[in-house]
Each structure stands twice: as C-alpha cells, then as structure tokens.
Symmetry: C2
Subunit: 178 residues, 2 copies
C-alpha cells in the first residue's frame, strides 16, 4: 500500500539557472521528511534511455517523453520523481503533464539569460556563442517558459533556501507531503 504520496516535480529553465542544484536541495529536504525521492538526472537518463539522441527539437522531445514515462512509473508507486532537464519546449512539457497519472508540479527556475551568460559557470554560453555547441537553448534554440507553472522561483534574485522553501511550502499546501 502506498505510504508516501507520489508526484512529479518537473524543473524547467535555462542552462545554468540552477535547476539541478535546487532539485538536489529539495530532494534532500524531502528525504529528511521520510519521502522516497528519485532524481532523474539528465545526463544519466540520456546515457541509459536515450543514447544516440541529440539536441534537435525532435530528439529533445523524445528524451523528455521518456523521462516523463519513467517519472510517472515511479510516482504512481509512491515515489517523488524529480526531473531537472532543461525541457525547453512547452508542448512536450504539457504532453508529459497530461499523461501523468499523478500530481504534476512544474517548477520554473527563472533567471535572465544575461545573468546566466555573464556568470557562465560551465563555459557553455561562451562555446554556444562561438558556434561550438549547436542547438543551445537560449542562444541558438528557443526556450519557451511555462505559462502556468505551479511554482516560479527566481534563482538570480532569491537564495536557494528561499527557492527551496517555496517549493516545499507548495507541496505542503497541496497535501503532497506527509
């Protein structure tokens, strides 16, 4: 019998916006409260479920659908399934949401691209500007922000604690935490 309430926490946002860091922080907090949490790491999922796929819209969409499929399998078994892939396209995010048999919580990690590009912690924006990386979200590929995300965090303005607490507060309010 389900002991914890399963749901999908779907982080979306530009490269470098802080999705993975925030997802990790929230996951730790959830585990401390006794929840089962599985973070579907973007790289690990690509390696194991989507090897050979690239970053065109078609390939990204396939990858996102696969993450959604696995997240739903986990969540319907009581796990809080966390995705922190960029997932730039609104239509496929909404498709994953519509197929979910569990509560789907979209978390938009918003940050101005100018800030992210100036910070450029991984050096990816520089490479994208130089044409060394194709299909780079925000530079040579679009990012379509959510229109009705359950939670919006502003990672360039807020502390990570503030952002994490917003998310935890939302989950409590929705009755998704014991």
């Amino acid at each position: 019998m389900p002991q914890s309430t399963g749901c999908i926490l779907w982080f979306t946002g530009l490269s470098g916006a802080g999705k993975s860091t925030l997802a990790g922080r929230v996951s730790s907090a959830l585990r401390e409260r006794g929840a089962r949490v599985e973070v579907l790491d973007g790289d690990e999922v690509r390696e194991n479920l989507s090897k050979g796929l690239g970053f065109t819209q078609a390939d990204r969409d396939i990858n996102i659908r696969r993450i959604g499929f696995v997240a739903n399998l986990l969540a319907r078994n009581g796990v809080i399934a966390v995705s922190a892939a960029i997932s730039p396209y609104r239509a496929v995010r909404d498709e994953v949401r519509s197929k979910a048999q569990v509560p789907f919580v979209e978390i938009y990690v918003e940050a101005p691209i100018e800030v992210l590009e100036a910070r450029d912690t991984k050096g990816l924006y520089k490479k994208a500007r130089a044409g060394m990386i194709r299909n780079f979200t925000g530079i040579s590929d679009p990012y379509e922000p959510p229109l009705n995300a359950e939670v919006v965090v502003k990672s360039a303005e807020e502390s990570i604690e503030t952002s994490a607490n917003k998310i935890l507060g939302y989950l409590e309010k929705r009755g998704l935490l014991r």
Copy 2:
C-alpha cells in the same frame, strides 16, 4: 522509508512460453499481499522507451538494458519490478543482473519449442517459418537459456498455479516478501 522490499523479477523464455500470463498471475498474488508491483510490459516499454528499435541483437540488447535501468530505479524504491520480455541473450541478462542494486531473480519459463510451435497461440511461429517475421527467437534467432536461473518453471508440464507458487515460495525463502 522503504516499506516493501524491492527486487527485480526477470522472466525469460521463448515466445508463447507463458511469461506474461505467469508474470500477471504472480503480480496479482504479490499485490494481494500488499506489495507494490510494476509490470514492465514489453510492448509498452518499446513504445515509450525504444520506439524505432527493431529485433536485431543490437537493438534487443539496447531495449533490455533500458528495461533493466527502469526496473532498477523502481526496485530501489521498494517496488517489485517485473519484466516479461523474451530477452534471449544471456550476456545482456547477466549485465542487467550485475548492474542491479537490488535482488535480481531470474525466472526461466521453460517449454519445448516444438510444443510452443504446435500450439502457436498468436500464429507467430507460422509467420516466422514462412519468413514473414525476421529475427524470430527460436526460429531464425537464438535463445540462450539461463545457466543459473533462481527459478525454473516448466510451463508445458506444470499448471500456472504450480509455477506461480514456485516463484512465490522462492521469494518467501529469500526474505523478499513481507
């Protein structure tokens, strides 16, 4: 906190040997005992994780690795993850076993191919003999039986109850059932 003990039940055997039927029976019995069970249906997995892959050894191996990856994610979160794909190649079955972070229970559903071909419930053997289906396990493709399966059931000789009870008995003995 984990309530049930997760593990992977990996059924393997020829087409028509009764893997899915037996997996369904065992799953129902496990659910009645309060376990969380997820059956990774071969067709559903191909549709959602492996669209475009065929039935060559290379493609089958990729598909089996993906089932193994997802089964492990589920099982390490306390779910009994059930696979009932043919999975004809020993090496990739053993690879999935070696990567599993949970108990891996291989169940060989053994039946003589002559019996299955004579029965031919889905008409697939006839089509394979006629060359209408390529890469058909047992006809135009090999089937490599497990050398050390945890459970062997003989579906052409035993009743489904006998086979199911063998499996449940094994899980009890291993301490995988509460």
